[in-house]
Subunit: 608 residues, 2 copies
Amino acid sequence: MIDENIIECLENVANILRLHSIRPTTKAKSGHPTSCLSSAEIVATLFFNVMNVDPKHIDYLDNDEFILSKGHAAPVLYAALAEIGVFPREKLMTLRQFDSELEGHPVPRVKGIRVATGSLGQGLSIGLGMAYAKRLLGINRRVYVLLGDGEVAEGSVWEAINLAGKLKVSNLIAILDMNRLGQSEPTMFQWDGEAYARRVEAFGWNTTICNGHDVKDLLRAFEEARKSDKPFFIIAKTTKGKGISFLENIEGRHGTALSEEELKRAESEILPKIKEIKFQPSNFIEAKISIEPRKKYSIKTDYKIGDMIATREAFGRALVKLGEQNERMVVLDGDVKNSTFTIYFFNKFPERSLQCYIAEQNMVGVAVGLQSQGFDVFLSSFACFLSRAYDQIRMASYSRANLKIAGSHAGVSIGEDGPSQMGLEDLALFRAVFGSIVLYPCDAVSAEKLTCAMANYEGISYIRTTRPKTPVIYSNDEEFHVGGSKALRCSANDEVTVVAAGVTVHEALKAYEKLKADGINIRVIDCYSVKPLDAETLIKASKETKHIITVEDHYPEGGLGEAVASLGLKPHILAVRKMPHSGKPEELLAEQGIDAGGIVRKVKELIL
Amino acid sequence: MIDENIIECLENVANILRLHSIRPTTKAKSGHPTSCLSSAEIVATLFFNVMNVDPKHIDYLDNDEFILSKGHAAPVLYAALAEIGVFPREKLMTLRQFDSELEGHPVPRVKGIRVATGSLGQGLSIGLGMAYAKRLLGINRRVYVLLGDGEVAEGSVWEAINLAGKLKVSNLIAILDMNRLGQSEPTMFQWDGEAYARRVEAFGWNTTICNGHDVKDLLRAFEEARKSDKPFFIIAKTTKGKGISFLENIEGRHGTALSEEELKRAESEILPKIKEIKFQPSNFIEAKISIEPRKKYSIKTDYKIGDMIATREAFGRALVKLGEQNERMVVLDGDVKNSTFTIYFFNKFPERSLQCYIAEQNMVGVAVGLQSQGFDVFLSSFACFLSRAYDQIRMASYSRANLKIAGSHAGVSIGEDGPSQMGLEDLALFRAVFGSIVLYPCDAVSAEKLTCAMANYEGISYIRTTRPKTPVIYSNDEEFHVGGSKALRCSANDEVTVVAAGVTVHEALKAYEKLKADGINIRVIDCYSVKPLDAETLIKASKETKHIITVEDHYPEGGLGEAVASLGLKPHILAVRKMPHSGKPEELLAEQGIDAGGIVRKVKELIL
């Protein structure tokens, strides 16, 4: 039996949330109040009855979690957080202001919010990652994800639904705010709740349809969800703009605030419904499990100079060494673990490995969820296929996420498989992620040590690995750090500096020998840290030699050459400029002029 | 009744295709023969019985179409094309060689192949676009898409399934080669055909499960497909490595060719099954409808200097003008048409507009399919959300596609909505697409004319538009071209050149006035063509002024500044370097130092 008094209290809270949604958006003159209004009862019921939350320790792991996947309804979430006491109500009116953390869409600057949302269709993957994390941690808590009906068209949502169904992640609960209206027109299925239920059930979830404005019916749905042995999907039929007569179910009011005059009319409808009720929610808990601070890790290698080993394989070996030191390390892969060599970790630590199948968007979302619960997450695929998840990676930077991403099969050096499998834009993409670091080792020693540097980095780190085997050139005691480089050949007589990374380092070293035979000295720099660059070494080289050449197995735009150019140097950029295609790696490197021969030609062209 | 003779003939063809799949891969020492072997009967049945094809005019529009979404099975497709006579069989043995167009994964260099595949999960969206195109053209033909079972985990597949179901595109037929094994382990559902059928049916398709090695059963399935009033999904249970005893249903043989010794054993199993049969396929047709060459379009504008209008809105107006001239122009949007202003085209030409809902990956795939049938396709979303489809856009460049892409809401100048909605990496992303052009207008006149330039460009073009209104600064007779720029302020006494684009052009003009009041002359260049750059004008400016400053509402990596730096100039790059957040546009531009004040400060720092 549900206490009628509780229902009245929750209805009251819902109307308070409505008020807190329309007032700040009107003050800000922008925002999405109608999308808040449709969710008011759902959010009120969750925060004041259903979710186990400790408002004083909302960041602790033994809270239930809430993700607002429909991030544009941020005001209703801010309102709920204020109402449960996470921060003062007065702050709500600072919404969208320059100096307020209550931004237009949620970001983790706000206490009680773990991840950024606002690019639609990403919340469920993150929720899956969080729910899976709680399972790994043995914490018996649930994750609630509030979805908009428009965003369910995103394939990433179905990737999450698919994997959650397969893994039977029963502590994951999605609530669909089925308010019928998208931004520009009605959604695909409008109020056809069965259309959603049919789809989601086919993917191995339990579902129910309820009236999203009927608190009693919502409580019934959440009770069913708690009993489910599968992930659970609540389809809540709602009305966009609910509670304000002149906004209810109206098209064309998606992203507009109420005018001052409209606000007055709206208040005159809502205020009379709000009562002064003493309400002691029964869902507040005392949370106890905080996230432990991260430790520092180290790696020792045992290679001989000249050993032939691919950097992707060395990366895989490093993962195992790190996993031995770090029980909170998790590795994800998208059905290429035998190519990216995460398979070593999968074999050694199956309980901390997650096969995400060929669904990179969801893989990144799951990783964001896992890291939000204190895990150190590496994820891996072919460099080119990571581009599939770029929007998720971009958003992860706004989540202030700690993500370690490895992209294998970089460049034309993969050879016969052809351009569909070649990462030729990944340096540009990952350099443009806010706060990222981009590492690109050329041999096994540097690959292992840079993998360790990623483990120790807080933020988004990317390592680019190569398919073919390359010789070990570094001794095992060599150290590598973020923002470093190695001057592999350096003399007072160097005429030209060649800045290389990854596979082209070996081409530059070959070019060095050829040119030396002709009496020409070049400086060779292994620029293994593409972001940040070792500016000091590069500027010094530009002063000490007549020319700088950069050489990269990547398109010229946004890659190593432009990075070096952005320092104010004037590099001659050797890069992939012809349409890539299949062939032997050495043929393709030669065709693009980024092999030893191409470097020799360019050096001679510059100085002879 | 199905003729037993036909069945024997098709089985025979299947074994010939097997032979043509294993021999070239062994010669190339790489490839995915086992993935070809599982599809042999499906491909044989399609090309020699089911599909209406004209081998002599395979590029004509009134052929049925075939898309190999599981692109790694390229050899079996090449084999089929050779066997129906599109090119000589001898060419098959050039597979994966440097100078052969028979690349590791399909590209349209090969006659009979319209689009590149190989990044999994993209073929069905393209097929949907092609099928929709045939419907628009009134051509009663079907599109067959062969999917791998691993790739069905990709959300993009479900975006395509969803939209095709909604639109009831009944001339779209998908065939799932359910061979149970992914690259690194078994697929999610292995041979559980019902798992796929349940899911796909829930999305509004008809389905059947068949034995993918039983030609009779396949023919039955295709017959059902032809009768369906909905898109049709055939789940073909197959065996990876089928036909070669030691490869059948074996893990760990995804991406490896047979050794010479294995090839001999394999041939000894397959050759005895191949008979010399005279076979006159009944599905060959005489196609008649070729793709018409594209025309050139022009635009006239009617603005007054100083009119306040957002470039996104001018883009929308230009679409209508182009649509009036071009009956083959189609516009797609992802539920933001009222923000990107494609709504003008949608309202004027509803029959040539397609609402793709919030599913950007599928939108790009559909566009690739449409343009392959001769349509001129514009597609639009917020710049940041286009990053969702980057893998599709990357692949479109290998499809040699003609795509016109518009990204609105560029930069921090969008203001209060915050970083989730800000395009801050789009210049980097689109510059790194092979063969692309990147345009960035600052006012309505240039926005319209550059939209026209896109219409006339063959390849992938991108236009970046701005949310806030900006004043018209160009007269209506001004011309704009790919690779051009405008020196808006230019004198013999310029001390510094400021290179701007989009919203920062107006800041640079304001800075000009402020500096002029202090007796400092700057040159202001509107660099509206970010790729290719107007190198001549920029280099001239670098010679005539002491310093170059670039200023962009974009992250520094891969943007305007690095593009200018790549010319060998040494720009001081003003860009978005602090974590972006909500606020008023002018506050945010100022915080990032990319407003007039920031430009003035930088100029003075350099010369005083």
